[in-house]
């Protein structure tokens, strides 16, 4: 009986932990996408100067959020985003707007892909 109770508690904790991680990833994705969309809109609107600071903030934001994600997501997937984020401030500062826009889009796709691969669906489970 004791073992059964321990097992049921473990299953409940695993489920709770999984839900918590999914919610964390959802919130992080929303936060980062909002930032990225703002930057993309500013670039389209010709406000390139404002984007420099935004890219630095975004990089810092990603580094903070990565601390939480690294506990349950493959590190190689997160590292790719980290490397791409490192390029943003310099692309913004030294004026390569086309590259910057492409990089923002790429990071957005990577973040969405992270979400898609972590959510339990038929195609991700199988």
């Amino acid at each position: 009986m004791k073992r059964l109770i321990i097992s049921l508690v473990m299953v409940a904790l695993i489920i709770a932990f999984s839900i918590s991680n999914t919610v964390t990833l959802y919130n992080v994705r929303g936060e980062l996408n909002e930032h990225l969309n703002n930057m993309a809109q500013k670039l389209e609107g010709g406000e390139a100067q404002d984007v420099v600071e935004d890219t630095q903030q975004f990089q810092q934001l990603w580094l903070d959020r990565e601390e939480k994600l690294v506990r349950f997501i493959r590190h190689t997937d997160l590292e790719q985003i980290t490397w791409d984020c490192a390029r943003l401030p310099y692309l913004a500062k030294y004026g390569d707007m086309a590259e910057l826009t492409a990089e923002i889009n790429r990071i957005q796709l990577q973040i969405n892909h992270l979400w898609e691969t972590q959510v339990p669906r038929i195609r991700t489970v199988f």
């Binding site: 073992r3 059964l4 473990m10 299953v11 506990r71 349950f72 997501i73 493959r74 590190h75 190689t76």
Partner: protein
């Protein structure tokens, strides 16, 4: 390097805990589902150790999940025969009344060599000596010999039963440490133990192993550096 070490340590603790939760079974007596879980745990545990890009949680969660499912399914199996049958199967009688059931052997893919090997491991070298042989769900063969080939028992010889014959020797002192439960089991007190040790001229801390039963028959083994030939037990 330290990451490998720490991960190995953490996973070792998790696996030991998991095996404790699964319960005591000798590796050779595992049910098929338990065997599968044991193999999977060993494979899963190596992944986060080998590759530090994989989060440790990716090893811990599957291990704990597998163990939990195994315990839950086996608990359900205790109450539901259908589940038990689905998960573990049924024991199969392959020798009945001395006759080999060849059809059952074919169904089990059990060859003559397998059968003879299993019989030899049970100290049966003549198949004609076997009345019943059952292949258990663990794959082990249980053998019921024919009457003339069974070991003689005390009952067969009408030997009188000595007192406390059914009382096994239990560990009373282990590596100098007293086991209080054994003292209670033997209905003895600490002063008896102290007097016995004094009679042997030893102290408790000098004892490597002392066993005792309810008839106060004891066996004493001293530590290597304290041996003085006083090892045989005496009844009280």
């Amino acid at each position: 390097m330290s990451i490998f070490f720490l991960r190995t340590l953490i996973l070792y603790i998790i696996i030991v805990f998991s095996l404790r939760v699964m319960g005591k079974r000798h590796l050779g007596e595992l049910e098929p589902s338990e065997f599968v879980v044991a193999i999977m745990i060993s494979n899963i545990a190596t992944l986060p150790i080998e590759d530090t890009n994989i989060p440790l949680v990716a090893g811990i969660v599957p291990i704990l999940a597998l163990v939990s499912f195994e315990v839950i399914i086996s608990s359900i199996g205790l109450r539901c025969k259908i589940v038990r049958k689905l998960v573990s199967g049924n024991p199969i009688i392959i020798i009945r009344d001395g006759v080999i059931d060849q059809k059952k052997m074919r169904e089990l893919r059990y060859s003559i060599d397998d059968l003879l090997e299993q019989l030899r491991s049970k100290d049966v070298f003549d198949i004609a000596d076997v009345a019943y042989a059952i292949v258990e769900t663990t794959g082990q063969l249980s053998v019921f010999p024919k009457y003339p080939n069974r070991a003689v028992t005390n009952q067969d010889l009408n030997l009188p039963e000595p007192s406390c014959a059914n009382s096994p020797q239990m560990v009373l002192i282990c590596d100098g440490e007293l086991v209080p439960d054994t003292l209670n089991y033997c209905n003895l007190r600490e002063d008896w133990l102290q007097k016995t040790l004094e009679k042997q001229g030893v102290k408790q801390k000098d004892v490597f192993l002392m066993t005792c039963n309810q008839a106060a028959n004891y066996h004493l083994v001293l530590r290597d550096d304290k041996k003085s030939g006083k090892k045989e037990g005496e009844s009280a």
